[in-house]
Amino acid sequence: MLSNFTAIEGRSFGYWKLVTFFAVLILMGAGAFVAVEIHGHGITGMNNKIAWGVPHVFAISMLVMASGALNLGSMSTVFAVKQFKQFGRFSAFLAIALLIGGLAVLMLDLGRPDRLLLTMMHMNFTSMFTLNVFLYSGFIIICFLYLWSMFEYQQYTKVIGSAAFMWRVILTTGTGSIFGVLHAREVFHSALTAPTFVALSLSSGTAISIILLVTTFKHTKRRLDDIVVFGLRNALIFFTLLVAYLLVVEKFTKFYSPAFYDVQNWILTGPYSWLYLLGVWGAAILIPLGILFHPSRGNSVKGVLWASISAVIGTFALVAHILLAGQAYPLNMFPGYEVSSVFLDGVTATYTPTSVEYILGFGGIAVAGIIYLLGIKFFRMLPDKAVAPEGYELPWNP
C-alpha cells in the first residue's frame, strides 16, 4: 500500500469561497482584537471573577485538539497501525495549524499583548505558562521535523515520530496542569485534570481528523475507503471511553469525601449543570458513543461524521465547563461559613460573553482553517487515495 501524495487543485469556486470566508473571519477577529486593545477588556463579558472567558475556551480547546491531531501520525509511527501511515503528513500539519490558531487567540486576549516578549525575557520557571511556552514552541519544531522527515528523510520518521508522541503527551499534561495545579479552585484542582486533558486530546484530535478527512476527500473527489474511517471510529470509541473513565473516577473519588459534597452537588445541580450534563456527558461522551455503537449508524461514514462533530462540540463544552464553572464557583475562603461582601464574595459569578469574544475565538479557528486549506493546496499533504492495506480487516464492528 504505497500512497502517492499530491496537493489538491484548489481552483474550484467552493475552495476559494471557503478561503474567503476564513479570511473575512480573520479580519473580523483582528477587528475584535483592536477593539479590546483600545477599549480594554471592559467590552468583553469577563469580570473579576470570570477572568478567563470564551476566548480561552476557544484557545485551549484548539490547543488540546492540536496535540490530539498528531494522533494519526503517532498511531502509524509509534504503534505501527499501517492504514494510518498515509495520514502522517496531514496529521502533523493539522497539529501545527490548530496550535497556531489556538495560540493566536490566547495571545491576542492578553490585557497587554504588546508586552508579549516579556515572557521570553523574564521567564519564571515555576509558571505553567512559561513551561507551556517551551512546550508549544518545541511542539511546533518537532511537528515540522516530523513533517520534514516524512517528506524527505523517511529513515528518521520513526525516531522523530516517537519523540513527537512523547512531547504531545507532556504538552497536553502541561495544558491540563494550568488548571489542575491551582489548589484554591475546587472544581478543577485535581491530579486527574491533566490526564483528562490528555484523553480529551486523543478523542477530539481523532474526531477533528475524521471530520476533515471525510469532507476534504469528498470535496476533492478522492477515494477514502470506509474501512479506513471505521478504523478511526474504533479509535474514537476507545478514546471517548477513556475520557468517560477518568471523569467517573474523579467524581467517584470526590463523592467519597464529604468536604467535596458542596462543590460536587453544585456541579450536578448548579447554574452550570446544563453544561456539565448536556455538554460534557451528552455531546462529548454519550451521543458519540450512542452513534458509534449503533449497528447501522456506527457502520456508516455519515454516522461516524456526526459522532465526530458531537465529540468536537463536547470538547469545547468540557473545556468551557472546567474554565467557566471552575471560576464561577465561589472561592471557599471560610469553609463552613456563609460569606458576603461588595466584592461579590460567596456568590456564584455571572458571565455573559459579548460578541467580540466569540469573534476573536472564531478568528482563531479561521487562522487554523486557512492554514489547513492553503497547506493542502501548496504542499503534498494528502494521499491521492486512502485505502486499507490488502487483506486488512477490522477487529471489531458494531
Binding site: 516579556l118 491551582l182 469553609p335
Partner: protein
C-alpha cells in the same frame, strides 16, 4: 501549483528559527532589574482584631481607594477592591455574623507569583508581594491562582482627577493589580493607609509592623494572643493575621 522541497524546507527553517530564537532572547535582553531595595531584616505583616471591627465601618476601604487611586467603575463585577469588608456567618446561624477586612495576604508562598509568567508579580525581601505594572502582560493567571480573590484586572481606562493622590500612579488598563501594603508609605517609615484610617476612626483593629523585630507591637501580640490566618490549610503562610476569628 505545488511548492518544491526547497520552499517547504525554507519556510520551515524560518519558522523554526523564529521559535528557537525567541526563547533565546533571554541571553541578550537586559537582566531583570534588581527586584528590590528592601531588606530581609524586616518581615512586614498585619494583624486584624475582628472583635474591634465594626460591620458598618468602611474607613479602611475608603482610605485605600483614596491613597492608591483605586477606581470604582459602577459595575460590581468589575469594580476594584484592594481591600473589602466581608461578613461571615456559620451556615447554621448559631452565632452572630462577624465583619472583617480582607486584602492581599502577602503570602510567603504566593501562588500568584509562582504562576506569573513574566515575574511581574514578585515577593520582596521584606515579604511584600508586589506587581510591576510595567511588566504585567495581563494574562490573569494570577487571578485564577489567588485563593483570596485579592487581585483585579483594570477593565477600563482610568484617569486622574482632582481627588487623585498625586504621589501614586493611577491604575493602568489591561494589567492586574492588588494591595501592595502601601509600599510607598511603608518605605517612608509610615503606616499603610487602611491601618492609619482605622486608628483615626478610634477602632485600632489593625496593626501593621515588622515580625522580625521581637519588640514590635505585632510580634508581641502574635506571641501572646491566639491568632490565625485565612485558609492556613493551603500552606501559603499568609502575613495578614486575624485575632478573634
Amino acid at each position: 501549483m505545488t511548492m518544491d522541497r526547497r520552499t517547504v524546507l525554507g519556510l520551515g527553517g524560518v519558522a523554526t528559527a523564529g521559535v528557537v530564537l525567541a526563547p533565546g532572547m533571554t541571553l541578550i535582553a537586559a537582566p531583570p532589574p534588581d527586584k528590590t531595595e528592601a531588606s530581609s531584616d524586616q518581615r512586614w505583616a498585619m494583624l486584624i482584631d475582628v472583635n474591634k471591627c465594626d460591620s458598618n465601618c468602611t474607613a479602611c476601604t475608603k482610605a485605600c481607594r483614596q491613597e492608591n487611586n483605586v477606581p470604582l467603575f459602577g459595575d460590581p463585577n468589575r469594580d476594584i477592591h484592594w481591600i473589602r469588608k466581608l461578613e461571615i456567618r456559620d451556615k447554621e446561624h448559631r452565632r452572630p455574623s462577624v465583619s472583617l477586612p480582607v486584602m492581599c495576604n502577602h503570602c510567603e508562598n504566593p501562588p500568584c507569583a509562582h504562576v506569573c509568567p513574566t515575574q511581574a508579580t514578585f515577593i520582596r525581601k521584606d515579604g511584600i508581594v508586589l506587581v510591576d505594572k510595567h511588566r504585567c502582560i495581563g494574562c490573569r493567571y494570577c487571578m485564577l491562582a489567588c485563593p483570596y480573590k485579592a487581585r483585579s484586572l483594570v477593565y477600563h481606562e482610568t484617569s486622574r482627577n482632582e481627588d487623585s493622590n498625586p504621589e501614586v500612579p493611577i491604575r493602568a488598563k489591561g494589567v492586574v493589580e492588588k494591595c501592595n501594603f502601601c509600599v510607598h508609605l511603608v518605605d517612608d517609615g509610615k503606616q499603610p493607609a487602611c491601618v492609619q484610617a482605622c486608628r483615626n476612626e478610634g477602632k485600632h483593629a489593625m496593626i501593621f509592623g515588622d515580625l522580625n523585630d521581637p519588640q514590635s507591637e505585632i510580634s508581641v501580640k502574635i506571641r501572646t494572643v491566639k491568632t490565625q490566618t485565612i485558609r492556613a490549610d493551603l500552606g501559603l503562610k499568609p502575613h495578614v493575621h486575624y485575632e478573634g476569628l
